[in-house]
Symmetry: C2
Subunit: 339 residues, 2 copies
């Protein structure tokens, strides 16, 4: 792969070049990683897409929503990329229901580019590759990059930390279930979309939406910091992805908030904060990888671990001994306990 040619093709919007480049950034091979870094440097950062994070548990209709939403955007002449961050179950991978419905119509659209999640078990790796895939899509001058995740564990936070705007898609539910939504994620999201506002579920969806709207208002009131966005965000809306109802209204709200954030310096500040966050994450990941990349360190770890498993030493004690070996000077300071 010639880096400069590939970069030119991506800038020209060639889908196959983009797809191959994403495969490159997804690779864990050391020589591929070097090439990926070279390609990203060659591409630079001269175009910003609107990065929209979208989270929702399985069954709320994420695929249907993305299909409706994406088709509306491409219908307006916008180019849309869809990337997925799909954390695997800790043990066996995948969701309990197996494969999910794909977005049939959108995937055939020449102005849309859909990329499933890389099959990688470590969230850290997926997060880095997704951020690099976003950079590639921006270089390919997509207008909107939609980053989709299922609402479990850390993947939601990771996606929020790589998005300009964060949407939470929910299903209509009884009032009692409101408490089940994690407060952290409600504080992170900009717009809650209550889906399935059609047929028998329509009135239930309206009620659920009203419940979330009050919860959001309550949280805004209680927030210690002054609200950073215009007074009516975060907000809750109803949509029917199936009947393509409310989708245009949701897009209108997204544009309003995005424009307001750009005009008020919040857009840039958010991207800068996110860059800091990911730098810190990368440093952490790099430190941990030292534990497995050095033979001597690995052997010492294994020996201590055996002692721990046999109950000869407590985990915390053994860990202190290990850190003392890795950072002799630092641990000397640590032992200098104040009297």
């Amino acid at each position: 792969m010639d880096i400069q040619t590939t970069a030119d093709k991506i800038r020209a919007g060639e889908r196959r070049a983009l797809a191959r480049a994403i495969t490159l950034v997804e690779s864990t091979r050391r020589d591929d990683r070097a090439k990926a870094a070279e390609l990203l440097s060659a591409l630079g950062t001269d175009h910003q897409a609107l990065r929209i994070g979208l989270s929702g548990t399985p069954g709320v209709g994420k695929s249907t929503f993305i299909e409706s939403f994406g088709k509306m955007l491409t219908g307006q002449g916008l180019r849309v990329a869809v990337l997925a961050v799909d954390p695997s179950s800790t043990r066996s991978g995948g969701s309990i229901l197996g494969d999910k419905t794909r977005m049939d119509l959108l995937s055939c659209d020449p102005n849309a580019f859909i990329r499933p999640s890389p099959s990688q078990t470590q969230l850290g790796g997926v997060a880095r590759r997704t951020r690099e895939a976003i950079a590639l899509c921006e270089a390919a001058k997509f207008d909107v990059v939609l980053i989709e995740t299922v609402g479990v564990g850390q993947s939601e936070t990771a996606v929020a930390e790589m998005s300009d705007l964060f949407l939470l898609l929910l299903a209509p539910a009884g009032g009692d279930e409101l408490q089940g939504v994690k407060r952290g994620i409600m504080e992170t999201c900009d717009i809650i979309l209550v889906n399935k506002a059609d047929g028998d579920l329509k009135s239930q969806a309206m009620r659920t939406c009203a419940d979330y709207a009050s919860a959001l208002r309550l949280m805004r009131k209680r927030a210690k910091d002054p609200p950073r966005d215009t007074h009516d965000f975060p907000k809750a809306l109803v949509v029917s992805a199936l009947q393509e109802d409310g989708i245009a209204a949701a897009w209108g709200e997204i544009q309003t908030l995005a424009t307001w954030r750009k005009d008020n310096g919040i857009w840039d500040a958010r991207r800068a904060r996110q860059a800091r966050f990911w730098f810190q994450e990368e440093v952490r990941a790099g430190l941990l990888s030292q534990l497995t990349s050095d033979k001597d360190v690995k052997a010492q770890l294994a020996a201590l671990e055996d002692d721990v498993a046999q109950g000869k030493i407590r985990p915390a004690q053994a860990a202190e001994a290990m850190i003392a070996k890795l950072f002799p000077s630092a641990s000397a300071k640590h032992n200098d306990t104040p009297a």
Copy 2:
């Protein structure tokens, strides 16, 4: 605090000494940490309690269950300790509904010891302190240690990794909601308890229980490894914590599985595996703390972070530079990319 006297009092089952010792292991002060390590070493590990992990989202009736379950156990003359691992929301701490109902009757029981979660935002710290609190409760010769957590994020995994048995408490739900339970946690739990099997919800609870029972059977069939427990575990049961129905049956199942695991070497193997796991976690946490404990390292991090925020360098690139500074030899190896 005299370590040896405190150790003797804990071994004699003195609740106030135990409570003070837990406060000691919860402290982050360096001199307290040293004393805690000394106390834990003095106590040793001659008694094993049955460590039961219990998870469930807010509203499923965890407190009511623990009250019923705990009272039944103390009624049989058993001594029960209840520890909580309550992860805070990433931003503001606490659940959306605020304080939860406490266990009024159980907390007055002389054979019960209830300890709320330490107010600590980092899961790593809470996990270590909870493990140390478990060790203290075992030294105080409790028969059962119940470790309670809300079913969000990593706290569930953490509690599973410090339990001999893991219970998942669920509320009756429509069949559609079954998919919302994370597969990872279903694979981790030994017994699913569908609570609120009383009044109007009774038949719904039975249906939900049957649904989970089939899901568990399906997962067992699809599992690549041969099942490690007797053929009918993990299993799903209905209970009514409110009416104290099914609680004794659940305890019977817990005892059956615990005895079987002890007789088949799985109990000890599980504890050894968990010790290895926590050792690895402690080493990771210790490595990361190096980033904040050294002044020069902190300054270098801050400078690179500013460059990242200003878009001068990509997060991943900057992180590589940082790691290269921390581990000069290791990074030399890293750059030795195969051609």
